[in-house]
Amino acid sequence: MADVLLRVDGLFKHFGGVIATDHVHWSVPEGEMHALIGPNGAGKTTLIHQLSGALRADGGRILFAGRDITRSSLHQRVHLGVARSYQITSIFRGATVVHNLALAVLARSGSSLRFWRPLARETALFEEARRLARQAGLGGREYVVAGRLAHGEQRQLEVGLALATRARLLLLDEPMAGLGPEESQRMVALIAALKGSITLLLVEHDMDAVFRLADRISVLDSGRIIATGTPEAIRNDAEVKRAYLGEDGIA
Amino acid sequence: MATLILEQTLNGLQFGLMLFLLAAGLTLVFGIMDLINLAHGSLYMIGAYLVAAVVRATGSFALAVLVAILGTAAIGILLEVTVLRRLYTRDHLSQVLATFALLLICNEVVRLVFGSQPVMLSMPNGLAGPVQLLPGFYYPAFRLAVIGVGLAVAVLLYLLVGRTRAGMWVRAGASNREMAAAMGIDVKLLFTAVFGVGAALCAVAGAMLGPILAVQVGMGESILILAFVVIVIGGIGSIRGALVGALLVGMVDTVGRAFVPTLLRSFLSPAVASGVGPALASIAIYVLMAAVLFWRPQGLFPARA
């Protein structure tokens, strides 16, 4: 049995009178591909924000590899091994794909308080960036300016940037968002290739992808985890069906 | 001593209320249209100059104020329709620079028309003398009138914004512009109207402060900064915040200037106290603003959703 990599203890978050995260207890073992699903407004993104450090929880603890990261900042968590991708594409539109990824590599390549030597001369850095581009399925598109990429390619870069941090835990927030069928296939392949080598927390609405990729699935409803289990178990869970009533056709 | 404190408190109240007139327009424009308008002080200046010009021509202060209000509102609306409208979608830096350009243009146009020398604007005859408020305590009638006007406008704005349908639109716009538009509010007209009202308020402030301070080119700049400090403290988009902020700033500034040097003199040498005193008093409001930004970054009464 793999060690627990991520553990969430009684996590609590409210916005005024609305409780977004309602004392969530949860754990994800290392190497697992874990999906988080739930109806709209369940609080999935809020939970991701708290895990990544974008939002401060109001109560509870987040433990990563045994270490309490509840108070750690966004960038600190990245160095500890937790990285995320965004639901709304957040890349560097004016830079090439390679430059985008190079920035992520740069973040873990020593101090950037260097003022003299041109970055362009750091060939090792850019070589790794090109390798990452290929891993993200953008081989051959390395020198395209990110803003000019097709939507699907931008989503690939979005995930690629998170990958480039060499994190142990990746939080992917709806990577399939806005993708057509062909692009979705590419994204599924990209993520499937990561199985085993990295721990993945996947928030998604695309049920096909979820059931194909996930080792285990957790269902979030109104800020609470109402079920956790294998895809089969979730598929047959009465609570889950009730939560999704009329929402998605889970075959 | 007690009369001095009372006098300075009234002065602070008077200054604060006038700041409120400026800040109210500024905060609405900023809150609803998301526009930083550095030319707001120029409208105040134009208002004061119009009052001075009409008084010189007709001798009637009341008429002058009326003309100034209408004239400044007209100029404000003209500016909004021609230039400012294009800035709503632009970034803050562009707005700062464009309105700074308007500030320069207004200054020069006024200089062209009226010359560089300060213009005399005397208090209306009926209010020129002192009024006895308490036995042994006299206070200028005009300043009392200013306080009165300020309070009246505050009440008027409160009723307008809080109790009328138009006011509801304004509050909706300040809270969430897109939603307001989606609900069918004629946003363009609303913006122009808000701007016009803001300009009118500037004119009133100019008319009231003109006789007390000096009417000269550049008079808008010094008060503009204070108005910005007020809306940052009060919360952008909030009229209530503008009132509280303005009173706070007006008091701190006036009372500070009056008493800090004296206070310092009690434990510093007179030379140092007279040097540092006014500086500290001037700095006080900025320290206040920095403190508010640090602890309550959205201001005291944020209007934004």
């Binding site: 003299w116 940037l161 998170a162 | 294009r86 900064i225």
Partner: protein, 311 residues
């Protein structure tokens, strides 16, 4: 291509005073010094504004602090440029570090306001320094002493010193922008959230950038104090910050030579127009408005577009 152009301009700048001296038009040398000093100041603002995305409305405070450092030291008997000029840089950089530490915790318009507020505080602070002239300002007894047989009292010598410093600073700025630090700062400007999300402590980088720019402005201030022979609190007025911003946007925000171009155009226009009319600021205002509305990229941008279009 751009570097060749820059070297060409540099050679012209080196040659031109000799020509001016030959034709007995030394006034232009002094004017050129003034332009170079403001080019340095505007470029330092361009670093944080154009490349860092930080709209600071209080940059004049660092210019003024540097100027006052030199003036106050000279008043106290220290006139060596080797002491007062580096000190001007460091004092301004330190000042910027403190102001930046507080201001950079805010965003957007609040950042603009708080930098403005700090500049105002500095302005009033210098007015309160009665011992150093207060509101009336402070004269410098002489220009700073450089040694090596060079006398800065000669406008020609002073010009070459200013040119050397300005060129050196601009070169350093170019290297900085292409190095790790500059690339990180520019990426932060483009998408700060993502930079944090890939592991960069963005606040730290912005702060260091802010401090460096403040220091460079302080150096420009030191030169300005020498150029004018006089410092006054007016150097720190917010309208001065506005002037620096105008120069940057005129020249082109985020272009390497934006600050230089802006300073040149602004000061030449000011000189030329004020000979015609005392109301030259009206023309300036209209030009600025036109640029903001129709030519956002400033002159450098227009030039870059023209060159790109021609290719």
């Amino acid at each position: 291509m751009r570097n060749r152009l820059a070297i060409g301009v540099l050679l012209l700048l080196i040659a031109f005073p000799l020509a001016a001296k030959h034709w007995d038009q030394l006034f232009y040398v002094s004017f050129a010094s003034r332009i170079l000093i403001y080019a340095l100041a505007a470029s330092s603002l361009n670093l944080i504004l154009g490349y860092g995305g930080m709209v600071s409305f209080g940059h004049a405070a660092f210019l003024g602090t540097g100027a006052y450092t030199v003036a106050i030291l000279m008043d106290e008997g220290v006139s060596s440029a080797w002491v007062s000029w580096p000190l001007a840089f460091f004092v301004s950089a330190l000042f910027a570090l403190v102001i930046g530490a507080v201001s950079l915790r805010t965003r957007g318009v609040y950042f603009i306001m708080i930098t403005l507020a700090f500049a105002q505080m500095a302005y009033y602070l210098f007015i309160s320094l009665r011992a150093y002239g207060g509101e009336d300002g402070l004269n410098l007894a002489t220009r700073s002493r450089v040694g090596f047989g060079l006398d800065l009292a000669s406008d020609l010598t002073f010009y070459y010193v200013v040119l050397a410093l300005a060129a050196a600073c601009l070169y350093l700025m170019q290297r900085l922008l292409n190095a790790r630090f500059g690339q990180v700062v520019q990426a932060i400007r483009d998408n700060e959230t993502r930079m944090e999300a890939i592991g960069f402590p963005t606040y730290r980088y912005k702060l260091i950038c802010f401090a460096l720019a403040g220091g460079a402005a302080g150096l420009a201030g030191a030169l300005l104090a020498n150029q004018n022979g006089f410092v006054s609190p007016n150097l720190l007025q917010w309208t001065q910050s506005g002037t620096l911003m105008i120069m940057v946007i005129l020249g082109g925000v985020g272009y390497l030579y934006g600050g230089v171009l802006g300073a040149v155009v602004f000061l030449v226009l000011e000189e030329a127009l004020s000979a015609y009319t005392v109301h030259w600021q009206l023309g300036l205002g209209l030009a600025l408005l036109a640029i903001v509305l129709y030519a956002r990229q400033g002159l450098a941008g227009l030039l870059a577009d023209a060159v790109a279009g021609r290719r």
